[in-house]
């Protein structure tokens, strides 16, 4: 670990001019993110050997990086981010019209106007935490800087070992503290939902810092009434250790890009037979929902997520939203900065948890909808993927210390076992503290009125 040279994360807002990059002896590379008045548009990796770099050259790199995102936002056609499907539907995007391009004046200024449309509706922010007061303090301070401020911020303290978190939250006047003794992230989130008042409920984790415009931009993702869930861009807060870089490059790495994506029933139908890649929709640390979606498709499955199966409670929820005929929207201008795990052991443990949760979610999804694509992914796609990765790693010299491969495979098997042990457990347990939740929505099973919802989605 001592040999690892960290990366520098550099945020460059093009509206304030482009700097000349000087040599960076302490870093191996710069991860340069380009913004325009708080809208993230692209990034470039610049290695120490490329420095110093004149501003003009950095401007060229920035231009190449931001064109797709600018085009995506300004034009109805062209520059669209392809959805993660096996065979993209060519009718979904064509190139931009020549006359539109020629008529274009001051694209960046237009972009700014489009992204600063006022939003209305109340919003509640829920942060679930467990025994991480230092990280939480940083997160809460960033939430205080949100503009405009949310109607409500709730911290759900999940099965804490001490009252440190409670004392911390008490220092923030505007933040509401709720204790949830039953462990599990899904449990904590469901409790948070029950105490929330906003029309839109946004979630973030305790190990992030949010951008001041985070919430307003998440809200803009809800303009389309079919959209029930919005996710946003997760940027690394730091890349100081090897584990953080590996996480960034791998699981959380390329993120989801700087262009908007709408995951609609067509996307779901395209991928149903192969297992819908709902995990590509976003991250639980940066997501928001319309309040009414919880009545429509149920709550978070309490068998899934950190503290239970390990993860994928978010993606399983998106799966239900899509399966019931609604849409999810990825809105990259809603930015959070995530502190990835710093050491290799936690990274490997995380990889284990991810796969355990992922496999459990596949089985939950199959059990609920009988979509065989989930099984296909479990029995064909995942084994094939690990076989290829194993061969690849053998070729490049297998390093058990560096590789999380074995832990991931173990995670997959553990996920199957976990599901079998918990298959009869109710996905959501109604408790007295949730008076307005009826059994109908709570079971989250075959909710009545599905046909009506489908119709409303297709209008």
């Amino acid at each position: 670990m001592s040999a690892f040279v960290p990366w520098k994360i550099l945020h460059i807002d093009l509206s304030t001019g482009i700097p000349t990059l000087m040599a960076e002896p302490k870093y191996q590379a710069i991860y340069a993110v380009f913004w325009w008045y708080g809208i993230p548009l692209g990034h470039q990796e610049i290695f120490a050997a490329q420095l110093p770099m004149p501003a003009t050259q950095l401007a060229n790199l920035a231009l190449q990086a931001i064109v797709p995102a600018v085009g995506d936002r300004l034009f109805a056609q062209g520059f669209k981010q392809p959805l993660p499907v096996i065979s993209p539907n060519p009718a979904r995007d064509t190139h931009v019209d020549f006359q539109t391009l020629m008529a274009l004046k001051e694209p960046l200024k237009q972009l700014q106007e489009r992204c600063s449309q006022p939003v209305n509706g109340s919003i509640s922010v829920i942060v679930c935490t467990r025994n991480r007061p230092e990280e939480l303090a940083i997160c809460l301070r960033s939430l205080q800087n949100l503009s405009p401020p949310p109607q409500q911020i709730i911290v759900v303290d999940n099965a804490p070992n001490s009252d440190v978190t409670q004392q911390l939250v008490a220092q923030f006047l505007s933040i509401q503290y709720i204790l949830e003794q039953r462990p599990g992230l899904s449990v904590a989130r469901n409790t948070g939902i029950c105490h929330s008042k906003g029309d839109i409920i946004a979630f973030t984790d305790d190990d992030v810092v949010v951008h001041p415009n985070w919430m307003a931009r998440l809200q803009q993702g809800f303009q389309d009434p079919r959209v029930m869930a919005v996710t946003g861009l997760m940027l690394p807060a730091e890349l100081e250790t090897e584990a953080q870089l590996i996480f960034h490059r791998g699981i959380g790495g390329p993120g989801w890009g700087y262009r908007r994506m709408t995951f609609d029933p067509q996307f779901f139908a395209d991928m149903k037979s192969r297992g819908v890649p709902v995990w590509r929709i976003g991250a639980g640390a940066n997501m928001a929902f319309r309040r009414k979606v919880f009545d429509l498709v149920g709550y978070f499955d309490e068998r899934l997520g950190a503290g239970a199966s390990g993860c994928s409670e978010d993606s399983e929820f998106w799966y239900r939203i899509l399966a019931e005929g609604w849409c999810c929207c990825y809105e990259p201008s809603a930015v959070i900065y995530h502190y990835h795990r710093r050491d290799m052991d936690s990274l490997k443990h995380q990889a284990y948890q991810y796969m355990r949760g992922h496999v459990a979610a596949l089985l939950v999804q199959f059990a609920k909808y009988k979509h065989w694509g989930n099984i296909r992914r479990l029995l064909i796609a995942l084994p094939r993927y690990y076989q290829q990765r194993f061969l690849q790693e053998l070729k490049t010299g297998f390093q058990p210390k560096q590789s999380s491969l074995l832990r991931e495979i173990a995670g997959c098997l553990a996920g199957v076992k976990y599901y079998i042990n918990n298959r009869r457990v109710m996905p959501f347990q109604s408790v007295p503290s949730r008076p307005h939740i009826t059994e109908k929505t709570g079971v989250g099973g075959r909710v009545r009125g599905v046909g009506v919802k489908r119709n409303s989605c297709r209008k």
Binding site: T56, Q99, M102, L108
Partner: protein
């Protein structure tokens, strides 16, 4: 077969293109406010008509992203008031020597010279040198005599790199722009070079875009359809590493082409000029540009590719010439690799990997070609492959001996 080459300025009303009965297609050179932004070739039947609407669609598909990029660039530039800086950049441009190396092709040379003399070069210190390389007659000398602004230098030792070194030691400019005699410079050629210089004051070498001068034979169309000398429409600054390319800088072919390159004179002098055992003329007509680009990067300097620094190259017209050109690419490439393997021990592993990759890639192309999935017929790829095999089997040491003999003949 013959393709019509048409220049389109996208900011002006699009024309209706009518092909003649001899045309079998068209090639579009797209510009936005003079800056090249795209190139496309389209096979068409004779006498076809392309309406402005069809043209607009073709252009938007080919260069839509680039057009948007240029619009954003304009907005950012206006924001930073770089217009004023541009003037100071111009003042910072050094004295320039344009060196054209030629041998027995006065018609080509006259065309090239004329394109240079048409440039607007107010307030620029520059000179044009013609290096007449081992001529068999006086025609070049006589031609140059008719241009008082152009200086004639004779290099009796045959070989392109002899001529290039001769230019180096005859030049007065701080920056040396080399041209082959079979190119014509674009009207924005010099501005492109100035722009690249201003944007990269620390670079030691500049390369530019090369587009076809004509596409009137099958061989020329084939060559251009395979990519020709094109290296894209983005500015690129090559440094010590190239993300995503572990063999950098050994794969020197991507940096540009020797028919349109500029180097700082003091840098060239410092590293001892061009390697005279590469680009030696008929016997080993390649590898010289690869070698100099590679040495620029290895000496620690940036190398800059600028699409606005544009020339038009007259490709080989005959199939036999084209096949020979591919053969020389293979030969020159391997001669360069063998030389660098000898002279640059730290890069040996990389270079060996590059050779391995090259043969694998050639075989893959050959396979595609036999399966009709390649623009080139198999005999062209075989020619390049064969050139590579001859090249790796001691072509560079043989060339060294030949060059030594030439030197002793002329000393």
């Amino acid at each position: 077969m013959s393709y019509r080459i048409i220049e389109i300025e996208v900011t002006e009303p699009l024309p209706t293109i009518s092909l003649s009965n001899k045309d079998t297609g068209m090639a579009l050179i797209l510009r936005r406010k003079h800056r090249p932004i795209g190139f496309l070739m389209e096979p068409l039947s004779a006498n076809s008509q392309i309406t402005p609407e069809n043209l607009a669609q073709l252009i938007a598909k080919e260069a839509g992203a680039k057009m948007l990029q240029e619009t954003i660039r304009e907005e950012l530039t206006a924001l930073e008031h770089q217009q004023e800086d541009a003037k100071t950049w111009r003042d910072a441009f050094p004295s320039l020597t344009v060196a054209i190396c030629t041998k027995d092709r006065p018609e080509n040379l006259a065309r090239c010279l004329q394109s240079l003399l048409n440039l607007q070069v107010s307030a620029l210190k520059w000179e044009i040198l013609v290096i007449d390389n081992a001529p068999s007659d006086e025609r070049t000398k006589e031609l140059v005599a008719s241009y008082p602004q152009v200086r004639y230098v004779l290099e009796p030792k045959p070989g392109l790199n002899f001529a290039r070194n001769c230019a180096l030691y005859s030049a007065n400019g701080e920056l040396l722009a080399y041209l082959d005699d079979d190119v014509v410079v674009d009207r924005k050629w010099l501005e492109g070079l100035m722009e690249a210089w201003a944007e990269n004051p620390d670079a030691a070498a500049f390369t530019g875009l090369v587009l076809p001068y004509e596409l009137v034979t099958d061989a020329q169309i084939l060559f251009e359809a395979r990519g020709g000398f094109r290296r894209g429409f983005e500015k690129i600054r090559y440094g010590q590493i190239l993300p995503g390319n572990p063999l950098h800088p050994c794969g020197a072919g991507i940096f540009g082409a020797g028919c349109n390159m500029s180097l700082r004179r003091d840098f060239l002098v410092k590293i001892g000029g061009f390697d005279e055992a590469l680009d030696t003329g008929a016997t080993l007509p390649g590898g010289g540009d690869l070698d100099i680009f590679y040495r620029v990067i290895r000496a620690g300097y940036p190398l800059v590719y600028e699409p606005k620094y544009l020339v038009f190259h007259q490709h080989r017209r005959e199939y036999a010439q084209l096949r020979r050109q591919y053969w020389t690419w293979g030969l020159g490439f391997m001669a360069f690799v063998t030389k660098s393997h000898q002279s640059d021990p730290p890069q040996r592993v990389q270079l060996r990997r590059l050779v391995w990759w090259w043969f694998k890639d050639q075989l893959k192309q050959l396979k595609n070609s036999f399966g009709n999935h390649h623009v080139l017929p198999p005999n062209m790829i075989l020619a390049e492959l064969w050139g590579g095999i001859i090249g790796i089997l001691g072509e560079y040491p043989r060339s060294l001996k030949r060059v030594e003999k030439i030197r002793s003949q002329f000393s």
